[in-house]
């Protein structure tokens, strides 16, 4: 019997995100990026269908998250990582580099997805910061 099925809370979160025009990321409990939506794909220059699932060590650097000065943001300090580490919502401003080489300024809000069985993963929503791109 297959045992790698996503919990229904994650499945439903993906369904929600698929219908949003706001860019959004979805990670499982291990921090694996299991989905991002079409709007996030437009932002990053690569559709999820092309990128596929990635562990945190990969997605946390793949899109080159950095601060205003250009300094890389360590993976544990990314909002999604902070949510998974302590279960609390997290928000910060950051920049990412698309596959087209463009730096995009973002406000990122991340929060835990918690079901009856406890935390099942987390999602992050991105807003482009006006004038920060």
């Amino acid at each position: 019997m297959a045992t790698d099925q996503h919990p229904v809370e994650i499945i439903l979160a993906r369904g929600l995100m698929s219908n949003l025009v706001t860019p959004a990321f979805l990670v499982d409990l291990e921090g694996t990026l299991v989905f991002y939506n079409e709007a996030a794909g437009d932002l990053l220059g690569m559709r999820f269908e092309e990128a596929g699932p990635m562990p945190a060590t990969q997605w946390g650097t793949f899109f080159v998250p950095h601060d205003e000065s250009g300094a890389p943001i360590p993976v544990p300090e990314l909002p999604l990582s902070r949510v998974l580490a302590n279960g609390r919502p997290s928000h910060r401003q950051m920049w990412v580099r698309s596959t087209r080489g463009e730096d995009r300024g973002l406000e990122v809000s991340a929060f835990a997805i918690v079901g009856s069985a406890g935390m099942r993963g987390a999602m992050a929503i991105f807003w482009e910061a006006p004038g920060a791109a």
């Binding site: 019997m1 297959a2 790698d4 499945i11 439903l12 993906r14 069985a117």
Partner: protein, 294 residues
């Protein structure tokens, strides 16, 4: 194990001449395990007619497994005679959820002003338990409960004995997360629960024409129910949770369409059936297949 269906109607009871053949009682199924242990799946109005002593042997212990607490799945509790028998031990299993313990949540129905009896007044030896998030054993069966896509905390059940398995998901909208046909298995709600089951009892509340007007209501169209059954490779499927507006004749027509489509996809048409009140099925015969008894 043996399955007997006591209620297969969705949403609300539908007594009347147009629903006599498939039945008008809401969800309830009785599973008799190979050691005689009695499981009752959901407590819709069908539970009122459920008889435990058909073979002259009346069990003293019953397990009621609730998929969720929508009224059509618990309405019959107040009319289930074992709850009023002090000799009976009844365990009610259900989904954990916000809003208090399972007993607290059920007591919203079994209390004034909705009911004349409070839970604490029931004479039986009553026990409430949240379904574990891991498999557990009842009698000779291994039980697995898994949250599935519906409105509010809702479970599907898989009941397995060494020679057969039943998957019961009467309220389920796997297509809410996206087209089932295109989703990888890991993203299909209920997939691992149903995979390779000998018998699947699954939601099929709507025709394909009706479904778009009810998208997000937590139930499946015919096409989605068939797609789910095909993708999970179940041996036999009972389409259930019939829409209260569907007459027997309409369900006959829906079954004809279902079988034609199933056959067109390479399946044996008789492995698709409409769930019928009082229908009985033996699961796990020597041929390891679900076989109709009546």
């Amino acid at each position: 194990m043996r399955l007997k269906l006591w209620g297969v109607r969705g949403s609300v009871p539908t007594p009347g001449p147009e629903t006599l053949r498939y039945g008008g009682n809401t969800s309830c199924a009785q599973v008799t395990l190979s050691d005689g242990t009695q499981l009752v799946l959901d407590a819709g109005t069908g539970i009122r007619n459920l008889t435990l002593d058909e073979n002259g042997h009346e069990p003293r212990r019953i397990h009621i497994l609730l998929t969720h607490l929508h009224i059509d799945h618990i309405q019959g509790l107040l009319f289930f005679s074992p709850l009023f028998d002090s000799r009976m031990e009844v365990t009610i299993w259900g989904p954990a959820g916000p809003g208090g313990t399972l007993q607290d949540r059920i007591a919203r129905y079994l209390s004034a002003p909705l009911a004349p009896v409070e839970v604490r007044e029931l004479p039986c030896q009553l026990d409430f338990r949240d379904c574990p998030f891991t498999e557990w054993d009842i009698g000779t069966a291994r039980i697995r409960a898994e949250a599935v896509s519906h409105r509010g905390p809702t479970l599907g059940f898989r009941i397995s004995e060494p020679d057969g398995s039943l998957c019961y998901i009467p309220d389920h909208e796997p297509a809410f997360a996206g087209p089932i046909e295109q989703l990888p298995p890991a993203w299909v709600s209920g997939y691992s629960l149903a995979l390779d089951a000998d018998l699947l009892v699954h939601d099929c509340q709507y025709t394909d024409e009706e479904y778009p007007r009810h998208f997000g209501w937590g139930h499946s169209s015919l096409s989605d129910a068939l797609c789910f059954a095909r993708r999970t490779n179940v041996r036999r499927t009972l389409l259930s949770h019939h829409d209260p507006r569907h007459s027997d004749d309409e369900l006959d027509a829906l079954l004809a369409v279902a079988r034609a489509r199933w056959q067109a996809d390479g399946g044996a048409p008789r492995t698709i059936e409409m769930a019928t009140e009082l229908g009985e099925i033996e699961i796990g015969s020597s041929s390891n297949a679900a076989t109709a008894a009546t």
